[in-house]
């Protein structure tokens, strides 16, 4: 008990990461976190779109209970006055803070990220968020466009920075304050990338030469797929560079050379995200907080990179619903850091060759709706009771179960006599 929580949630990140067996993507810092964590290989969101998924895992209720399937209602007035995960920590003595995109902004979180219910201080949003969908991508014509594929020179974009860079800086600033005040905290950091537009510092393109980029293994719409199951990826059709391709609706396809560009930029955006995560965890180490802070890393849902002829979330396919999920729990998934020793030194994705093995992997099927009770248990708080079949009038309960029972502690691992095969393969 008594541990801080650093909750990292990424927008549209499928488990395309080194620690999930991807040989192409360079994610050394997330891999390093995985090497100290329990890694769930089969974790799924409850609905593959931002607001419903986030409200679901932050309240511990499924969309049929939050009654949020789109972006246009606030659960406290539309469904029930449900407690949230950060609210529960706040009510248990934690200082709770939100940086970046944790709740989906807008009416679905009451235009205030559910402050003050969920947060001790007003949530932080990067000042450059407002440029995300504006014309900041330099085209071949030298003009600025609102493109899907958008590598940028950071020095040239408005304010000379990007939202996720600002979020990392703010999160580090808050960690410093918490350390100074010796205050128990729950810090949620929501990164925007690799959500579209794929807008990231252009140097990350160097990590992914176009000749190394393959197409999806199954880039066609399956013959037996019922039309109702297919999503026509309308949001990327609105970007200027995609519009110029004159792709037919609803099935496309996107020309192969442009498919490669999208995949290249998605991977580059993942490495840019990895850099931000690395800087954040490095700061946690610098402040010697990694010895008493639980770190959770996950995403709101995945994203189809051309599989089944789709380029979006918005479906029930695994590529749209599967998420990375890992828990670093000092003393449980990893030994305590030695005094002066480091758990998470920053690793440069441009120079570091990752060969880290995830600390513990489990193939158990788990759901994001289980995050709430799992984090409560890991922090030593009372685990919210399982919800009754109908729970609209119940403020505090969870429709997911704690998944701590799937963790294998360091002690048990040692008891295995050094043979980790069962541990790794579950």
């Amino acid at each position: 008990g008594g541990k801080n929580v650093l909750f990292i949630v990424v927008d549209d990140l499928r488990p395309t990461l080194g620690c999930y067996g991807d040989n192409l993507v360079k994610s050394p810092n997330i891999d390093q976190l995985a090497s100290q964590s329990v890694v769930f290989q089969n974790a799924y969101a409850q609905q593959a779109v931002c607001a419903p998924s986030r409200v679901s895992f932050l309240t511990g209720r499924r969309p049929d209970t939050t009654r949020l399937y789109d972006f246009y209602s606030y659960w406290r007035v539309h469904a029930g006055n449900y407690s949230t995960l950060p609210q529960y920590f706040k009510e248990n003595g934690y200082t709770t803070m939100s940086v970046g995109k944790v709740f989906h902004p807008g009416i679905s979180s009451n235009y205030n990220d559910d402050y003050p219910y969920s947060w001790s201080i007003p949530p932080f949003h990067p000042s450059t968020e407002k440029y995300e969908n504006t014309k900041t991508c330099k085209g071949k014509d030298g003009q600025l466009h609102a493109n899907l594929v958008c590598p940028v020179d950071v020095a040239e974009v408005p304010e000379g920075t990007l939202p996720d860079i600002q979020s990392t800086e703010e999160a580090i600033r808050l960690l410093n304050i918490m350390k100074r005040k010796k205050q128990k905290f729950f810090l949620a950091v929501g990164y925007h990338k690799p959500h579209i537009p794929l807008r990231y510092p252009q140097e990350f393109l160097k990590l992914y030469p176009l000749e190394n980029i393959t197409l999806a293994p199954d880039p066609w719409v399956p013959e037996e797929l019922p039309p109702v199951a297919y999503n026509p990826w309308t949001d990327i059709r609105e970007r200027e560079d995609v519009q110029a391709l004159n792709i037919s609706f609803p099935y496309g396809p996107i020309p192969e050379d442009f498919q490669r560009l999208i995949r290249q930029s998605y991977f580059a955006a993942v490495s840019y995200l990895d850099m931000q995560v690395g800087l954040l965890l490095n700061a946690l180490d610098d402040l010697k907080l990694s010895r008493n802070t639980i770190v959770v890393f996950t995403a709101d849902h995945g994203w189809s990179l051309g599989e089944h002829g789709e380029w979006a979330k918005y479906s029930n396919f695994d590529v749209a619903t599967q998420v990375p999920l890992m828990f670093y729990v000092p003393g449980k998934t990893s030994s305590f850091a030695n005094p002066g020793g480091r758990k998470f030194p920053y690793l440069d994705p441009f120079t570091h060759v990752s060969n880290l093995i995830p600390q513990g992997q489990t193939k158990k099927i788990v759901e994001l709706v289980s995050l709430f009770p799992t984090l409560a248990e890991l922090a030593g708080l009372l685990i919210p009771a399982l919800c009754p079949e109908t729970s609209f009038d119940v403020a505090l309960c969870s429709e997911g179960e704690s998944i701590v029972r799937y963790f294998v502690s360091m002690e048990e691992k040692v008891d295995c006599g050094g043979d980790d095969s069962d541990y790794y393969q579950d």
Binding site: N42, A43, Y44, A45, Q46, Q47, A48, V49, R62, P63, D64, R67, Y69, D70, F71, Y72, S73, P217, D218, P222, E224, L225, P226, P227, V228, A229, Y230, N231, P232, W233, T234, D235, F249, P250, Y251, E307, H308, A312, Y314, S315, N316, F317, D318, T321, K363, K364, I365, V366, E367, R405
Partner: protein
């Protein structure tokens, strides 16, 4: 702990065929809900009628189904729902 772990998810649609609002239908336009359950062995989905006024799904009103077996079809490219409708496996799930 003896239960087989299952993950559930869902996705709404405004119609049986792809529309411009199929990706993000507003609540009032939702007519169909796709409910999925997945285990380590399979993903089973039924697309059923949905009433946005009372939030009720009608599991008697099946619009389509999907069934993918993880072992032989990890990419979920071969929907065997229609071929399996009368199999013991699907009957057991239903």
């Amino acid at each position: 702990d003896q239960k087989e772990p299952i993950a559930f998810c869902q996705y709404p649609r405004p119609a049986d065929t792809p529309q411009w609002n199929s990706d993000k239908p507003r609540l009032k336009d939702i007519k169909i809900m796709g409910y999925s359950m997945r285990t380590v062995d399979y993903r089973y989905t039924v697309w059923v009628g949905f009433n946005p006024n009372n939030f009720k799904a009608n599991f008697q009103d099946i619009h389509a189904g999907e069934l993918y077996m993880v072992g032989t079809d990890p990419g979920q490219d071969h929907n065997i729902y229609n071929n399996s409708l009368h199999s013991n496996f699907v009957k057991k799930i239903l």
